[in-house]
């Protein structure tokens, strides 16, 4: 009985190691490009960057776009949370700082949310950002 249990535990541990290895392997590929559907939604101005560091809907989203944005925002929040802990800041502070950068790096034609709460299309001029943005 005990042997079976320890065998099972070893199996679980091995599975955990394998899962970790899979994540480690997935990281370099995660450095790759944006999902094509996300890239298209961005280019079409359906989704845009918000000052809070998350994606928002500039126009009413299709269920597919909604799901895509929710998925990305969950991943962003996880990344912000990890970095906030490492830098001794709050998730909101780190997310906001990222939002400053993300709005600054929008390409002409892409949408962003102004501090006043209006969706704007980025053009050649600098975007309207919060006064606290560097």
């Amino acid at each position: 009985m005990m042997r079976w249990n320890s065998g099972k535990l070893t199996g679980l541990a091995l599975a955990a190691v394998a899962a970790t290895a899979a994540v480690a392997l997935a990281v370099p590929s995660a450095m790759a490009q944006r999902d094509p559907a996300y890239a298209a939604a961005r280019a079409a101005g359906q989704v845009g960057e918000q000052p809070d560091g998350y994606l928002g809907f500039a126009t009413a989203p299709t269920p597919a776009i909604r799901a895509l944005v929710q998925d990305i925002n969950i991943k962003r929040k996880a990344a912000y949370t990890e970095r906030a802990q490492a830098t001794g800041s709050t998730v909101e502070q780190f997310a906001f700082t990222s939002g400053c950068n993300l709005i600054a790096s929008t390409k002409p034609g892409e949408k962003y949310l102004t501090p006043g709460g209006a969706w704007k299309t980025r053009d050649a001029s600098p975007p309207e950002r919060d006064a606290r943005c560097p």
Binding site: A30, D52, Y80, S89, S98, A118, C133, P134
Partner: protein, 71 residues
């Protein structure tokens, strides 16, 4: 169980009272609220100070660079 004439009258009065009680607030308390045409603004001013944003800026840039698929 049967309802007597006076019982029926009392019931009718009660019903009328109820209608009046419902109708009066419905008529006088009609406040129309329009939905805002602008999106709801989220106040981000709490707990985010400029000095903190400046301190975190380098780390934020690095995070975005290293996780380009979600940004």
């Amino acid at each position: 169980m049967t309802i007597t004439k006076t019982g029926a009258r009392r019931l009718a009065v009660k019903a009328r009272c109820l209608v009046v009680m419902i109708a009066i607030p419905a008529l006088t308390g009609c406040v129309q609220i329009d939905t805002p045409d602008k999106p709801i603004e989220i106040n981000l001013n709490i707990n985010i100070r400029q000095e903190v944003v400046y301190r975190l800026d380098g780390d934020a840039k690095k995070l975005i660079e290293q996780n380009s698929e979600i940004f």
